[in-house]
């Protein structure tokens, strides 16, 4: 299987830099997800790998062989698009056979491949039908079958599930993961959905404004986001960001809403830092920084001796198995997930699990490694 390496790749459209000197490597058989908000350059990057877009700088290598100038056909990549791009005038079987016909594969071989595809994707009854009338999930299955039937060097998927219903999406995600593992084909998957990325990826390449922000496994990215953007983009509900400020008053640290002007109109709440957090704050030695903590690591009245702030519960509800409570600091809502549901309006101590408190530079958003 193919190793993909991208070296210093740049794509510039007029005055927009879509991809900015990006380098990464996808190991053989690995499933790597390009993740990021829309306009971050992930699709452009994928199109460069496919050969549909010529980069303005840098190199793309398959198995250390330069392919940068080659046409898509000469790269032998397969791609599944966000919008179903099956050939409407051809039957499902003809669609799947199209790349084989285009390459002049002998008829007998095509027949074998079609039988394999029909069995592998369970398309038996659909093979003779026209793709237009199939449900969306089946359409993408056909697209996937068409992509892998010719044993491509790379499988490229551009938001293949975003046009599907929630239910289909779960099923397809599972099937896709299974397919990739069984075929062992090196795969690049583009999405803006962090849940999709977390559940599918061997490794996530997080992008923003054409730059690579973090390149790590899902667990690592969740536990150790490299900056505020990564911390916010990964995880659901999103991480809380509190603005913390050193105070000369009785409490050494005050918390205020991130967005609020400082000093806020009496909205600041004292942060009762645990000894551990206080030591970290002192080590950083700044007067201002951003404190990030995921709702999952923000409970109520915990006995674990974590850092805490006293707040009013403005909202409390249960989603399936999880309790959630919201509180407001300086007009911004924050969320936590307590063990037991508090009463709305109650005054409680919101307690953070210290190990999972992230500290970011208030200006640049970079994480402090302490």
């Amino acid at each position: 299987m193919t190793v993909l390496s991208i070296q210093d790749l740049s794509v510039q459209f007029d005055d927009v830099v879509a991809v900015n000197q990006l380098s990464l490597r996808v190991a053989s058989g690995e499933l790597v997800v390009f993740l990021g908000p829309s306009g971050c350059g992930k699709t452009t990057l994928l199109r460069c790998v496919a050969g549909l877009q010529q980069p303005t700088g840098g190199h793309i290598l398959f198995d250390e062989r330069e392919v940068t100038g080659l046409s898509p056909a000469d790269r032998n990549v397969a791609m599944v698009f966000q919008f179903v791009s099956l050939y409407p005038h051809l039957s499902v079987a003809e669609n799947i056979a199209f790349p084989l016909h285009a390459r002049g594969v002998p008829k007998a071989e095509i027949k074998t491949s079609l039988e394999w595809a029909a069995q592998f994707f369970k398309l038996g009854d659909l093979m003779r039908r026209r793709p237009n009338r199939l449900p969306p999930g089946d359409k993408q299955k056909v697209a996937l079958a068409r992509a892998v039937v010719r044993k491509p060097s790379l499988l490229l998927l551009d938001e293949p599930l975003s046009a599907l219903d929630e239910q289909f999406r779960e099923d397809m995600r599972w099937e896709l993961g299974k397919l990739q593992a069984e075929l062992g084909i090196t795969t690049v998957y583009v999405t803006h959905d962090q849940r999709e990325a977390m559940s599918l990826a061997d490794r996530i390449v997080l992008m923003r404004d054409g730059k690579l922000i973090q390149n790590a496994g899902p667990a690592e990215m969740y536990a150790n986001p490299v900056d505020r953007f990564a911390a916010y983009f990964i995880g659901s509900p999103p991480m809380n960001f509190l603005s913390v400020h050193r105070s000369s008053g009785r409490a050494p640290w005050l918390v205020d809403a991130e967005a609020a002007e400082w000093p806020g109109p009496n909205s600041a709440v004292p942060l009762q830092a645990s000894p551990g957090l206080a030591a970290r704050l002192d080590k950083i030695g700044r007067d201002r920084f951003t404190l990030g903590v995921r709702p999952q690591h923000l409970g109520i009245d915990g006995a674990n001796g974590g850092s805490r702030i006293a707040v009013h519960v403005v909202n409390a509800f249960t989603v399936g198995h999880d309790h959630q409570f919201d509180f407001s600091v300086g007009g911004t809502l924050y969320s936590g997930m307590p063990a037991a549901l508090p009463a709305i309006g109650a005054r409680v101590d919101a307690v953070m699990t210290d190990d999972h408190v992230h500290l970011f530079d208030a200006d640049t958003g970079d994480r402090f490694d302490v």
Partner: protein, 301 residues
């Protein structure tokens, strides 16, 4: 007050629909139904519109019998058929080849397409006369180039085959842009992602064009084809202006012959019967046309 009176008794949707339909139904009845019925009736009489003093004689289907057993008419049908096949196929081969190169965006695209429209906006009669000058065997532009290239001057309009080619050239000049426009629209209507999918699937540009672009444009190209087919089948003006049916009457189309029977010979009965025959053929072609339209509708769903 007036407003409240109108509100008191609202007109039902059905009545409103009927009211809106009435004017066009009246116009249709007067402009289409009546002439058609009178045409049908006329075609069963022997009479001449010139001689109103001679009583028309009811002859059942004798006019049809006479026409269909007339070898002159079959010659006209053969000639018209040859013209239709030639002109439509030349136009389509030319138009599709040109459209292939005009699919992409390029500078001056809008201007080029505007220029392409010009021949369609001219009257066919004017075009006919223009080309008559161009094909003039003594001082025409065509023979100027032909002799410049070292060939003998061609008697364009004096020899039947040459005259046919001359009209095909003029008709092609006039109508190829129309087919180009439709073909480009059809080609560009194919989603980019489908073309990209095929590129990635390893299809060469030629393979993509023949296996994707053409079949997917087939409904629109089919409509253009039928429009051109019906139109060239009815062709009259270009022949009238360019050849006048000459040499002899060898370049007369069915329509040309019809006009001659109706308004030169004033055999009104026979002319009516011929018009009915032509109508039946055109209705047959139109039925295919409508079938195609509905198929496109179904595909777009």
């Amino acid at each position: 007050m007036a407003a409240s009176r109108m509100l008191r008794k609202p007109i039902s949707d059905r009545t409103l629909c009927t009211l809106f339909l009435v004017p066009s139904l009246v116009i249709l009845a007067v402009m289409v139904a009546y002439p058609f019925l009178s045409l049908l009736i006329n075609s069963t009489y022997r009479f001449s519109a010139l001689r109103s003093n001679v009583e028309p004689v009811f002859v059942w289907l004798d006019n049809y019998d006479f026409l269909l057993s007339d070898p002159d008419l079959w010659d006209r049908f053969t000639f018209t058929g040859t013209f239709v096949v030639l002109t439509v196929s030349v136009q389509f081969i030319l138009a599709i080849s040109v459209a292939y190169y005009l699919q992409r965006d390029f500078r001056g695209r809008d201007l080029l397409f505007t220029v392409l429209m010009i021949p369609m906006m001219l009257s066919p009669i004017v075009i006919g006369f223009l080309w008559r000058y161009i094909f003039n065997s003594e001082w025409g532009l065509m023979n100027f180039f032909v002799t410049r290239l070292g060939f003998d001057a061609i008697d364009w309009l004096g020899v039947t085959d040459n005259a046919l080619i001359a009209v095909v050239i003029a008709d092609t000049w006039m109508w190829t842009p129309f087919v180009i426009l439709l073909a480009v629209a059809a080609f560009r209507g194919i989603p980019v992602s489908i073309q990209e999918a095929a590129t990635i699937d390893g299809a060469s540009p030629f393979f993509r064009f023949t296996r994707l672009t053409l079949p997917m444009s087939a409904p629109i190209l089919g409509i253009a084809f039928l429009l051109r087919l019906i139109d060239s089948f009815k062709q009259y003006d270009l022949f009238f202006a360019l050849t006048g049916g000459a040499p002899g009457s060898t370049t007369e189309t069915v329509s040309f012959y019809l006009a001659k029977v109706a308004f030169s010979y004033f055999y009104t009965g026979e002319a009516s019967a011929l018009a009915v025959i032509q109508l039946v053929i055109i209705i047959g072609l139109s039925l295919i046309f409508v079938r195609l339209l509905t198929r496109i509708g179904r595909q777009r769903q």
